[in-house]
Amino acid sequence: MSNHPFALAGSAGAVSQAPSGGEYLADRGFRMFALVAASLLIVLVAYIIWKIGGQALPAIRDYHFDFLVSTNWNVQEKKFGILPGIWGTLYSSLLALLIGGFFGLAVAIFLTQGFLHKRLAFVFRLIIEMLAAIPSVVFGLWGIFIVIPAIRPAANWLNEHLGFIPFFGTSLSGPGLLPAAIVLAIMVLPTVAAISQDALNSVPYRTKEAAYGMGATRWEVILKVMVPTAAGGIFSATVLGFGRALGETMALAMLIGNSNQVTLSLFAPAETLAALLASHFPEAGPAEVEALMYAALVLLAITLLVNIAGIGLLTLTQRRISGKA
């Protein structure tokens, strides 16, 4: 009778037993906590939007949409506008994405397509990842003392000889759009490189082998097979890199010159939304804080849109490549 396998369960000396009342309660409680923690993320995002939106409300009521297209920032007259900020944010980020995206993709191809021995590739990947670990404010300091002096002669030569082109319309005296964009590009590069590497690595091996088998050269394989197949992932990498560039603050606050003007010139000082917040917020009075909250809301809306688009694209393309959808 006691040899019957089912009789063992619950009897003395048995390995398994039904959960006691306490264990049952602990289980319920813990799962409740986990549920609350997961919901907290949702609550946090909602609260951030609600709080910043709420703080911006008085300014929205006062300045309406003129705020978005005006170029004034005058605390005495209570006239605020962030067109230069929006323009500078988009301009510097696009420029950074152009430079950083190109190098990021080049590095991703370089690291995944067998140019380097595996060990060397590992070391090089570490170097690129270390770039992502350098704090923004250190890049800012480096930009002030290295990048600006390094590009000033070339910039001023371009201004003297090709000054009629709007991009070279002014001379570079110190901080300006180009040094800011260069440093921003360096900060975007690791993001683009990392996600593009994942995208290139997830292209099925037989696709690559088939292309080589047909006698294609290495670069024909890369440019005509690998990159187009991974294009979705690479594109979302650039969108996420763009999102990162839009919200980047300290390096820009130190390098862009914080000047409230809309300009095409690469060498002129400019303004970004994040830099505007960083440089004005600490000393702002009540009226200016309201206007800055409005600016923060605009920045929040832009970055949320770009990031959601990037993550959505990435999820879609990952699903398509792995064939789950």
Binding site: A37, G54, G140, M293
Partner: protein
Amino acid sequence: MTDRAYLELSIATGKSPSLSHSWSEVRALTNVLLTIGAWIAAILASIPLVSVLYMLIVEGGSRLSLELFTELPPAGFELGGGFGNAIVGTLVMVAIAAAISIPIGVLAAVYLSELGPNNKLGQTSRFLAKVLTGFPSILAGVFVYAVVVLAMGTYSAIAGGIALSILMLPTVVLTSEEALKMVPRKMKDAALGIGCTRTQMIWKVVLPTALPGILTGVMLGVARVSGESAPLLFTALFSNYWLNSLSEPAASLSILIYNFSSMPFENQIQLAWAASLVLVLIVLVFNVLSRLLGRPKY
């Protein structure tokens, strides 16, 4: 000679057909040029890091001494001085951020990977965690200013720590979730099979097994926030004195670098480089720790 004729010839002579590209072919030449281009791009991409490290070691290293860690920041024309209070401030605020975001983050990760991976709540909060990784750090500062600083009526180390915790949370959640998902299904089923409740399974099997991966995530999060400065600008502000209480403005290395970088004094600039060196070392230590801890044990 056509390809077919070449093939027949090679079969007849017993030699295999040549597979090498001729250099005079346009596509072969393009291939070589692009390869050279890729090498140049890769070398150019690593110049910034080399240059940053060189400057940190030369400019910052030359100023490195014991008094940096024990003295307070100098004012105006003063010589000497250090940034001991900023190191303490940075570490304290990072510790506050970790104390807030680790428990919440790991619990949320447990929910995402074990309890409701595919339900609406799980999917929404995973998506929002990903969105938060790209959340501009300055906005975390604005948010905490509106919520904590205005409520407390003063800038404080606590507000700074809370601002950092918002930036740390998504990293902890997403990397911990990945680590938890790596625990083999078999182990979870075995635990449930001998009658564990799901909580017992999570505490006794899943969490211990996934611990190295979770620690990686935590260390990455710590490394990420210890270099942040934008969220501290108007939450912790800065202080020229030692930290006495958590509800006071606190100094941090990153804000010290920001403030000193725009000063016209040679001494302050040197201190900014030295502080950068110390800050980068702190960030790198946490990065290396995350790699060492995350190494799979089996």
